[in-house]
Symmetry: C2
Subunit: 116 residues, 2 copies
DNA sequence: TGAACATATGAACATCTATTCAGATGAATG
DNA sequence: CATTCATCTGAATAGATGTTCATATGTTCA
């Protein structure tokens, strides 16, 4: 980027500084946007919402969503590594469930926003 | 994808159907994930959070974030087209502000989640 | 009107992302 | 222990995304 600074009345430099003080830390902002990035894919939202209703194994999820088992598994990996889901093995099947229902509150709030 | 269906006890087909009934509509899910997609970039979260503090013009935002005017403008275009920000022209400058503070509630909830 | 300034935009580019495909892993079962 | 089944994983690929650069637009002011 260039270091261009516009000439709008000098007082606004103070405003910028005031706003800067109230900003979230850069790390926190990145963490927050990382969470939203995970919710920014409809497949993952569907998986989370399904697991909110019921514990499900991989093949049930792929049947529910009409997606390949592989695609679902890749997305589950992302959800696992962000600690949004947990899983247990039962024989050949692996059952997934929500690690924390808090994430559903976020989704529901997104739903509220979308409905407006 | 392949149409493979696993052989887990037949009763689970009923479970899948039960869950399917409780799922959000596909369009709504896409709309929701589209909102999260917008929040899934730290630059946009920073811009929204800054505008929550104060109405700002483009060059103030770019000074605040240490980003080029062009990059900020491109992001503002995305925020504009999702109706998250509004703007008014004042001479040469264009001042942006939040269209709806509701989006901040979402961000704050993301912050809560991130802090855990 | 022309120069200076603030912002917007299109093209180009590098990076990231989601899915598919092929094959590996790990558990049950005969 | 070989086979079958459910799941996982790595490589490949196509499409999306964010930034930069150059330039266009629109406003002010001399």
């Amino acid at each position: 980027m260039n270091d261009y600074i516009c000439n709008i009345e000098s007082i606004n430099k103070e405003i910028v500084e005031e706003v800067r003080k109230k900003m979230l830390s850069s790390e926190l902002t990145v963490q927050v946007s990382d969470i939203f990035k995970i919710l920014g894919d409809s497949t993952r939202v569907k998986i989370l919402y399904a697991l909110f209703q019921e514990e499900l194994c991989v093949c049930e999820i792929s049947a529910l969503l009409g997606m390949s088992q592989s695609a679902v598994s890749h997305q589950l990996r992302i959800l696992r590594s962000s600690n949004l889901v947990k899983f247990r093995r039962e024989g050949k099947a692996v059952y997934y469930s929500l690690a924390d229902e808090h994430i559903i509150k976020l989704i529901e709030m997104g739903v509220e926003h979308a409905k407006e």
